[in-house]
Symmetry: C2
Subunit: 217 residues, 2 copies
DNA sequence: CTCCCGCCTTGACAGCTATCAATGACCGTT
DNA sequence: AACGGTCATTGATAGCTGTCAAGGCGGGAG
């Protein structure tokens, strides 16, 4: 927990792939604060494929497993397997879109909007990770895999504001705080409205997810 | 000016490469506001290489030229030319880092800090585009290629706050507002301090840039 | 079992920003 | 030259957030 996998400015000699658990990608600023720029879950690839130093450190957020390939071999593998190459490219493009989604979320001036966007992103992006997003009869339950401090760093604010905003969303009956890190989503539309996002497509896909989850049981 | 090149949600049938001018990548929200998530300058590639719809619209910010390759041919070209494939991958990875830099900037809670980070990013990233960043005897001059409205959308705030923050930085003798869109940088360290970033490396490279620019003349 | 420590939460206050409104500068048009 | 439009700026006020401080809760060590 909290161990460093890749240090800032380092050029790692391997390409990693997360198998389970959660890693966080962050940058430490001059004043000691560290800002989180992304979370890595199972299936995510980290470490730059071709040269160049990583500008961001990677640390373990929860118990996690990952595998590492020597970078040279991985690059050769990419050369020989167009399919793998294409998959890595698609993965990178998806991460790029995700990073831009983060930008939209961070552009929201009210904290409640940022948290609403964060929760929606969790639901839409991590819907396949069942220990994070669970579909229940009452709606969806999200287990936030990081603490208030990290969440604040992620959303560009402070733990106190996170707490207040979550309880404000609860007062609006948009969510329910089951445990500090276990959030029940009561009203997706309200969240989307709060986030200011046109998340209609996202919500539709979530509805599909819920249907599938119910059929599974 | 303001024309749409690629629409949101569309799957463009070409891959574009900016030759000159400036394009902006943005997303329109449900309430009509549009948030800018990136600027494209010469050499930047846009349009997804492999399938998938673009989540962001691309519009012309200034007079611009770009070339377009049919997507199918481009993908075949990638298959046949490992060098090009590698270059595109590197380009994408760089954009990813840039997007994460944006996240850091947007995480800054004070507007002056966000603008300081923006200016530093302009200097470090667009230092080769001489109609945007110019080295002069007094320091560096940055021509901001977008208006206050767009700048506000980019930094997640409002035009009024942009104006106030710029003039605050001027009062601190960190910058000089030569024209509304032409900013002279007087004190890089002050900007870095304001941004809270450990931009020492960045500043060093800027110093190199200044030296080179002076030798050029 | 008790203590200690970290985390989450809540309250009070200062500081900053969003918002509304109004003014002035610049540009293209008439 | 006069007009209308957009854009940048400035002021006043309300609202929200950062900050500091304190209290409550749970888990681990002794």
């Amino acid at each position: 927990m909290g161990q460093t996998v890749v240090q800032e400015g380092e050029t790692p000699d391997f390409v990693g792939c997360v198998l389970s658990g959660l890693l966080r990608m962050q940058k430490t600023l001059a004043d000691g604060r560290h800002h989180i720029v992304g979370l890595l879950v199972e299936g995510d690839i980290f470490g730059r494929v071709f040269g160049g130093a990583t500008e961001f450190a990677i640390e373990v957020a929860t118990d996690a497993e990952f595998c590492a390939f020597p970078r040279g071999e991985f690059e050769e593998l990419l050369m020989r397997s167009p399919d793998l190459d294409r998959a890595v490219m698609l993965n990178t493009l998806n991460e790029l879109d995700r990073a831009r989604d983060w930008m939209i979320i961070l552009s929201n001036q009210k904290i409640t909007g940022r948290i609403a966007g964060f929760l929606l992103l969790m639901v839409t992006r991590f819907s396949t990770i069942d220990h994070i997003v669970k579909a229940r009869d009452g709606g969806i339950e999200i287990r936030i895999p990081i603490g208030r401090q990290d969440l604040a760093h992620l959303l560009g604010t402070r733990p106190e504001s996170i707490s207040r905003a979550l309880h404000a969303l609860q007062d609006d009956s948009a969510i329910r705080i089951i445990e500090p890190n276990l959030i029940g989503v009561l009203d997706l539309s309200a969240l989307a409205r709060e986030a200011g996002e046109d998340e209609v497509d996202g919500i539709r896909s979530v509805r599909e997810l819920l249907k599938v989850a119910r059929l599974d049981r």
